[in-house]
Each structure stands twice: as structure tokens, then as C-alpha cells.
């Protein structure tokens, strides 16, 4: 059961296409796993479409009775409403040859599976076009960076093996973790597959996993370890996130 979801304002910005690519990708990955947010996204998309194009009072139609376009438009010229730029754009579009080839690209999506340290997991569909760098290991941690080129924001897939942990750390910017598989615990509770965990600089945590887990992480800044000896590990912060 998923307990943690992106908050509604974040989902609205997501639907509006206003968030950075990496944040959009991790939210989309959560939405794939979460039926609650799927419905919410559907509702917000309808709302955004209405705000942009006006309210549709029409109920979705089951089918279309043959509409006689000839009768409907008579000899009236709709083109009269358009300026010359728009008219030439209209001409350019309707002059295009049927572009059916591109449809083949949307053919039924096959799930992409990946194996790391003997664990198999499915890559979220939102990420299937994104190049993954090879996994690099450090103790019980393995990390693969995703080539998203999103300014300072880094996106990674992180695998923590059974019994592994990340030393107590804090985040200078923000860190989003989406648990793709397995579970982990920290001071605030236990997390399960699908949970969407947003942390900012105010939070300090020390995730531990008994079962092992795979996470998608997006973070705006390298994490910093805060406790005693762990501080010596700060370069690892760069490694993990």
C-alpha cells in the first residue's frame, strides 16, 4: 500500500509541464505505480485543459453519428477568421502526406528490465528512452546515473543490498526518492514500493534496508553527512546522489 504521494500543487505543476525533466520523470514513475495519483492526474489534466481551452460541457461521446460536414458548414468560409500566417500554416499542415510511420513508434510498450547485484527490477516507462550509465558499486550500494542533463539536478537509480544503509545525512537542496522495489526504514518510518519521499534541507535521515531495495532518486544538491565519523565520508555523498 502506497502511503506517500506527491502533493497536489506539485501534481498540478507536473500536469502543466512546468517542472524540470528529472522531477517530471520521477513523478511520472510514481504515477505509473499509483492508481490514486493516476486519477488525480486525470482530474488535473481536465482542469488544465478547461483553463486553457474553455469549459467542455459536452459529455464524452460513445460514437459519432455520421456528421454531414457539407451541411454543417454550408458555403461559409472559416478561413476568413485567420490571418495570413495562420492560413499558410493551415495549408502546410493539411498538405502533409499521411505520416503513419510515426504511429508504429507508439507500439505497445515493452517493459525494460535490468539486473543489478543479482536483483531484477523493471525500469519505469517514463525512463525508457533515458540512457543509464553503468552501475558503480561501493559496499552495499550501487548507483547508476541517468543522462538527463537537467542542470544541477541529478537523477540516479540506487540499489542498496540487504542489510545496507546510508549514513545519517542531510540535504542541502531537495531529494526525492521513489522506492521502486523492496522497502527501507528511517527515523520517520517504513517505506514500501511506490512511496514518494520528498526531503529538503530541514530533514536528516539514515535509511536502512533489511530486505534490500531499488530507488529512483532525484536530488538538487549533493548530500552531506552530519554525524561524527560519517563526516569523513562526505565524498560518498557525492557518489550516492
Amino acid at each position: 500500500m502506497i502511503k506517500l504521494h506527491p502533493e497536489t500543487p506539485m501534481l498540478s505543476s507536473f500536469v502543466a509541464g512546468e517542472l524540470p525533466a528529472s522531477v517530471s520523470v520521477i513523478i511520472a514513475s510514481h504515477v505509473e505505480m499509483c492508481s490514486v495519483c493516476q486519477q488525480e492526474v486525470e482530474r488535473l489534466t481536465l482542469q488544465a485543459a478547461n483553463a486553457c481551452f474553455g469549459e467542455s460541457n459536452v459529455m464524452p461521446m460513445a460514437g459519432v453519428d455520421s456528421v454531414q460536414i457539407d451541411d454543417e458548414f454550408g458555403s461559409f468560409s472559416l478561413e476568413a477568421e485567420l490571418d495570413s500566417n495562420e492560413l499558410s500554416m493551415l495549408e502546410a499542415i493539411t498538405g502533409m502526406a499521411p505520416e503513419r510511420d510515426t504511429i508504429v513508434n507508439t507500439a505497445v510498450v515493452e517493459d525494460k528490465e535490468i539486473e543489478v547485484s543479482g536483483v531484477r527490477f523493471t525500469i519505469p516507462r517514463a525512463l525508457r528512452a533515458v540512457e543509464m550509465k553503468p552501475f558503480q558499486g561501493l559496499g552495499k550500494l550501487s548507483r547508476s546515473r541517468l543522462s538527463l542533463e537537467d542542470g544541477d539536478i541529478r537523477t540516479s537509480i540506487l540499489h542498496i543490498d540487504k542489510g545496507g544503509s546510508v549514513p545519517t545525512h542531510t540535504h542541502k537542496g531537495f531529494e526525492i526518492t521513489l522506492l521502486l522495489q523492496g522497502s527501507f526504514e528511517d527515523e520517520m518510518g517504513t517505506y514500501h514500493a511506490g512511496d514518494f519521499i520528498w526531503l529538503d534541507g530541514k530533514h536528516t535521515h539514515q535509511p536502512v534496508t533489511k530486505t534490500g531495495c531499488v530507488c529512483l532518486t532525484v536530488s538538487s544538491n549533493a548530500i552531506r553527512f552530519t554525524k561524527g565519523v560519517s563526516q569523513l565520508l562526505n565524498p560518498i555523498g557525492q557518489f550516492i546522489y
Binding site: 485543459a49 486553457c52 464524452p60 461521446m61 459519432v64 507508439t106 542533463e149
Partner: protein, 208 residues
């Protein structure tokens, strides 16, 4: 108000246009899309274009900042509407929501390209636009069929080729064709009949 055959339709279309400023979505939007899908109907598309273009432009200016990029977004979005109308499923939601998704995805990829010079297109993966799962293989079969038909058409005598291509590929009426080829309409009809009979034969043969 005057009453004659043409006038009520005139008024109807006129209302559609004037109501746009009041942000009411024409009830016919879904049927126009269906017409574009089934017949590549240019008048239906013109109506769609007239409704959406200014609104997409407004959205584009807000998201992409420049007039030129906004115009590119209009073109990109409405080209997809023209080419992918057959993927719109009126039973699944409003036409405006469908167009919004196409527009938002295109705008997202354009913005990303400006910011990061990255060519990777992510929009359609982040916000998948719903299509029926099985529609793709059907469309693909259609596409293969279409390619095969083109090959058959090219084997017809030239006079028949012209007629078939005019009617089916350029969507000219038989009257327009007769004028263009400078032959009586009866000739267009008989050439078309002959050509279709030949094509049927060939398609039948290859399928046996």
C-alpha cells in the same frame, strides 16, 4: 432572421466562431476530429484549427516566451492533431483534454531543447497519450496495405493511374479531375471503374 437553405448553417458556424471569445468549446469538436481521422476532412480541420490556434499560441507565449516559438508550438501541436486524429477516442474523454496533452508534451520537449540543447524527447514518455493497445498493429497492417496498394497503382496504365491517384491520394472530386485532365466526367468514371477492378484482382491474388 432570414430563412433560406444556406443561412441557418451560416449562422451556426458564425456562432461557433463568435462564441470562442467567450471560451465555450464547440460541441462539434469531437465529430470534427472524427471526420479528420476518417476522411482527412479539411473543412473540419479548419474549424479545429480556428478554435485552437489562438489558444495554443497564448499558452506558447506563456511557456516559451517568444512569439516565434509559440507559433512553432501551434504548428507542432496541430500537425499532430491532423496526423493522429485516428488515435483520439471520444469515449475516453474530451477532445480538449486530448489536444491539451499533445500541446503540453510538445511544449515540454521544445522548452527542454532550448534550455539544455538536448534532443531527447521525453514528453510522450512522461505523459503517455492513451491509445488502444491493439490499434498499433492494425494501423501498421493498414500501412503495409497502403504501401502495397501504391505499388499496384504504379503498375496501372498511366491514364488510370492519374485518376486513382487524384481521387484517393489527392482527394479530388471526380468533377475536379475531369476538369484537370480535360476529359468528360464519364471518362473519369469509366477509367476509375477499370482501375479499381484491376486493383481488386491483384489484391485478391496476393491474398490467396
Amino acid at each position: 432572421m432570414q430563412k433560406s437553405d444556406g443561412i441557418p448553417h451560416f449562422v451556426e458556424v458564425n456562432n461557433i466562431i463568435s462564441s470562442q471569445s467567450e471560451d465555450q468549446v464547440p460541441a462539434e469538436l469531437s465529430s470534427w476530429l472524427t471526420l479528420v481521422a476518417s476522411q482527412r476532412d479539411k473543412r473540419a480541420f479548419t474549424a479545429i484549427f480556428t478554435f485552437f490556434a489562438p489558444k495554443i499560441k497564448r499558452f506558447g507565449i506563456k511557456q516559451l516566451n517568444t512569439e516565434a516559438m509559440a507559433a512553432e508550438l501551434v504548428q507542432e501541436t496541430l500537425s499532430k492533431v491532423w496526423n493522429k486524429a485516428h488515435l483520439f477516442d471520444p469515449s475516453k474523454g474530451a477532445a480538449t483534454t486530448w489536444v491539451y496533452s499533445i500541446m503540453r508534451n510538445a511544449s515540454f520537449d521544445m522548452l527542454r531543447k532550448i534550455k539544455t540543447k538536448n534532443e531527447l524527447l521525453l514528453g510522450d514518455d512522461i505523459w503517455p497519450i492513451e491509445t488502444e493497445e491493439h490499434s498499433d498493429s492494425e494501423v501498421y497492417a493498414d500501412h503495409l496495405m497502403e504501401r502495397q496498394m501504391v505499388a499496384y497503382v504504379d503498375q496501372l496504365p498511366e491514364a488510370q493511374q492519374l485518376v486513382v491517384k487524384g481521387v484517393y491520394f489527392q482527394e479530388l472530386s471526380q468533377e475536379q479531375l475531369a476538369k484537370q485532365l480535360d476529359v468528360p466526367i464519364g471518362t473519369v468514371k469509366s477509367r476509375l471503374r477499370l482501375a479499381l477492378a484491376k486493383l481488386k484482382e491483384q489484391v485478391g491474388e496476393s491474398h490467396d
